[in-house]
């Protein structure tokens, strides 16, 4: 897509890297230009008119000018800074995890308006959620679907038989759940309980408003997270870095408040 010399877009700030004395290179996610890198000049100075509108995870309306290598942000106005999210450490971590998935799974300048909408929704859902883990699992399943990696949860992708209500096998390589007879022959496939399979189908097949009413017990939440994590790692071919921080917060929380969570979904 050719861009005019000056153009407008809304964007969510995914990442930032310091450049020179006061500038930053930002990674932005936009609805119709996909992911793009742009320079924000002077944003690290306290008096910058741009700075506060371009912090990580801010949803902003931007004006950009084409530059020699990178485009330059000339104006920025916050649409939503998701303040309740940045005031909660656990939710901040969850939102950064969502942003990292978008950054890792997308290429520069490939538009995917539905994926943009999903990220924007996820940031709002996290503010309201009663279980941030469930919200992240919903986000992961629909992110994978919008990227063309929708896991097959009804039929065994190898023999095409309808899956039976029993323990089956999840196979990242075959993109779905294998029946027991196929699954036991695949070394990389892991057992998946019937309940976890049902939850995945429910999250995959429903709007967030309905799906978010699910309540998962600790064991189920853990199995779901492990299953989804394995599938995501298979496609990314490496770890999602912010997972380590989420696990760190969980460990700390378990030590500090052994009898109950303080933040939605912080404890499993």
């Amino acid at each position: 897509m050719t861009r005019p010399r000056v153009y407008k877009t809304e964007a969510i700030v995914l990442k930032g890297m310091d450049l020179g004395e006061a500038d930053k290179i930002l990674t932005l996610y936009t609805p119709y230009l996909g992911k793009l890198s742009a320079v924000a000049r002077g944003v690290r100075r306290p008096k910058s008119k741009l700075g506060g509108h371009l912090d990580l995870l801010t949803h902003s309306q931007l004006l950009l000018a084409q530059g020699k290598s990178l485009d330059v942000i000339t104006q920025a106005q916050t649409l939503d800074s998701f303040l309740p999210l940045r005031q909660n450490l656990w939710l901040t971590g969850c939102a950064l995890y969502a942003a990292e998935l978008i950054d890792r799974f997308t290429a520069e300048r490939v538009e995917n308006p539905a994926l943009y909408r999903l990220l924007l929704n996820a940031l709002n859902w996290l503010i309201q959620t009663l279980d941030a883990n469930l919200t992240l699992r919903y986000f992961e399943l629909h992110l994978l679907e919008l990227l063309g990696y929708r896991p097959q949860l009804q039929q065994c992708p190898l023999c095409q038989t309808q899956l039976k209500p029993t323990t089956n096998f999840f196979s990242p390589a075959h993109g779905g759940v294998l029946c027991p007879s196929c699954g036991t022959l695949e070394a990389e496939a892991r057992p998946i309980s019937l309940n976890t399979l049902k939850v995945m189908r429910y999250l995959q097949g429903n709007d967030y408003g309905i799906a978010s009413k699910l309540r998962l017990d600790g064991g189920l939440a853990k199995e779901l997270e492990t299953t989804m994590g394995g599938y995501i790692r298979f496609h990314l071919e490496h770890e999602v870095k912010s997972v380590a921080f989420l696990n760190d917060l969980r460990r700390q929380e378990a030590k500090a408040h052994p009898f109950g969570p303080l933040s939605p979904g912080l404890r499993q």
């Binding site: 008096k47 995870l57 940045r86 901040t92 995890y97 870095k241 921080f245």
Partner: protein, 203 residues
């Protein structure tokens, strides 16, 4: 790396490459600095080279506050002139210089050497947090001022430290966040405005 210059004498090309590795230095600035050095008197060039070696050889981290120093403990930790009951926690050594310029703070410091940045794989264990917690044992410290930057990662780091320190019964404060001097309400983002409102003061 190819800097697209006509064939250069090897030492010149090498120096340019070294400059190019520095933050904020592109190929053009690297060339400009290199030619500037070429015209410099030899004594001055030697002084520069020795100064670079000296910071690498003589500068260490203070075993108490983790600031850069050539003597351990550093001059800020050493001696009786500063108040040991307050520690101000900053991201980088340069932040200490900025706070010292105010001449308004007489407590001690602690340098984290970074902020929590989950997407870059930088977690609490990569910062000087264990060293900070060790300083809080023993009952001397009454207050910890969290002076990380007022952006998402700085706030996350402050929240993380607050959760660790508050249970120790030590007062935890955060630098007030508000409108910058010379700033303009019209251009101020809602996060800054919200916090400026929260921190409003009686006139």
């Amino acid at each position: 790396m190819n800097l697209n210059f006509p064939p250069l004498a090897e030492p010149v090309a090498r120096l340019m490459e070294e400059f190019h590795k520095l933050p904020g230095i592109g190929p053009k600035s690297a060339a400009r600095l290199t030619y500037f050095l070429l015209r410099m008197p030899e004594s001055q060039a030697k002084a520069l080279a020795e100064a670079i070696l000296a910071v690498k050889e003589k500068i260490i981290l203070c075993s108490i506050c983790q600031n850069l120093t050539d003597a351990d403990p550093c001059s800020l930790c050493h001696g009786e002139t500063r108040d040991p009951s307050i520690i101000c926690v900053v991201e980088e050594p340069l932040d200490i210089l900025a706070l010292e310029r105010t001449r308004g703070y007489k407590g001690h410091y602690h340098v984290l050497h970074g902020v929590i940045s989950p997407m870059d794989g930088i977690g609490p264990d990569d910062l000087k947090i264990k060293e900070l917690l060790a300083r809080l044992q023993g009952g001397t410290v009454q207050e910890v001022i969290l002076a990380t930057n007022p952006n998402l990662e700085g706030e996350a780091t402050a929240m993380y430290l607050q959760r660790l320190i508050a249970p120790l019964g030590i007062r935890v404060t955060r630098l007030a966040r508000g409108l910058p001097v010379g700033g303009d309400l019209e251009y101020t983002d809602e996060v800054t405005l919200t916090r400026a409102l929260e921190g409003r003061q009686e006139l």
